[in-house]
Amino acid sequence: MQSLQELLNEHPFFEGLDESTVSMLVGCAQNVHFRPGEYLFHEGEAADRFFVVRRGRVALDVHVPGRGKAVIDTVDDGDVVGWSWLVPPYHWFFDARAVQEVSAVAVDASCLRTKCDEDPSLGYAMMQRVAQVMYHRLQSARVRLLDLYGADRVG
């Protein structure tokens, strides 16, 4: 069985971090598993950790009154779920649901925030990685807003 250190070392989100930095993060991390249909978190709850997805698929759901639940994004192995842990007031904005069997490493937010405060270079490295996730999600949402696959009335 792989150690937490090995799991984090080989995850793309932590690529480029040196061994000692990763071992510092291990103190904030734990292995978690979710069965299909189980929720990693719900909208409005405290964003007290984030999830480094190692295997499986997570759907980000939102309840639309009158229309039921809709999936607005999915996160697969190699990606991370959640950035609300980094931005006050630290509350989840969506639900996160395991679509398949999910194995992940949960990183305690308060523990990590403390380490980031104590070590600005770690804070910067984490911010760079989270910013990249946010950038991709924002671009994805913007392009989908254009509804490119919708029909133009032409002929």
């Binding site: 759907a59 809709a70 999936v71 190699g78 649901r97 989908r144 254009l146 002929g155």
Partner: protein, 287 residues
Amino acid sequence: MSAEVTAPRPEVLRTDALVPRPFRVTETHRETYDTVTLELESLDGEGLAFAPGQFTMLGAFGIGEVPISISGNPARPDRLVHTIRDVGGVTRSLCEAQPGDVLTVRGPYGEGWGVSAAVGGDVVIVAGGIGLAPLRPAVLEVVEARRQYERVHVLYGARTADDVLFGVDLATWASDADVDVAVTVDRAPTSWPGRVGLVTDLIPRAAFDPARTLALVCGPELMMRYVAAELVDRGLPPERVRLSMERNMRCGVGLCGHCQLREFLICVDGPVFSLAEMLPLMGVREL
């Protein structure tokens, strides 16, 4: 003063190039709420040989004609297949055609995907929305000669799960032909077990050797721009990325100029171009 008239492109001046042939609808399949696939056979008994990526000018008597990509199997020239989205008067009429109805066909026209350039290497096919229809013949050609290719990826983005085209084909290619098929949709109900997100998100997950890969891309132009950028980021040379461009094609044979894209006429020089040819033009707003 003597003015020399430049001769039009000789290769498009076949005497029969503008003459429509009658084809009878033999079968219809409703793909989605606004998209229909028609199977047709010619009334003269001669099939219509085509290269994947080519199109015909498909017409309804008394209504008009429109350029429609061929979506059938290139190994079956006896059966012309078109997948049509209802986006206006002519396409609505075509979508409403029933078995026994006779339509007009001119073509096939244009330059195709040139799939054989991928033999011996990897193939990455990226489609968005109705863009899977012009790519279907290319996938069928690859699947038919699967052993001649290394890794084959079909990456497909659709608006919703209900808008996914050729669902049976996608499943068959994945299960029977060792093709890596990945589908993503823009939004979905919670019953959808697949991916939700952009088709570009599928590219980093596809394993291929950029130096030995041919990429074929078809979809809305903006989507193709983003996909092309992602493929080039992965190391594909622009010459090995092919795009199917769409403009207002009318004559189909390079005479009328409606589909001009600067120095190109889409109907005869394309519709398939390399990214190297299109890259300087794709960001020009006036085009």
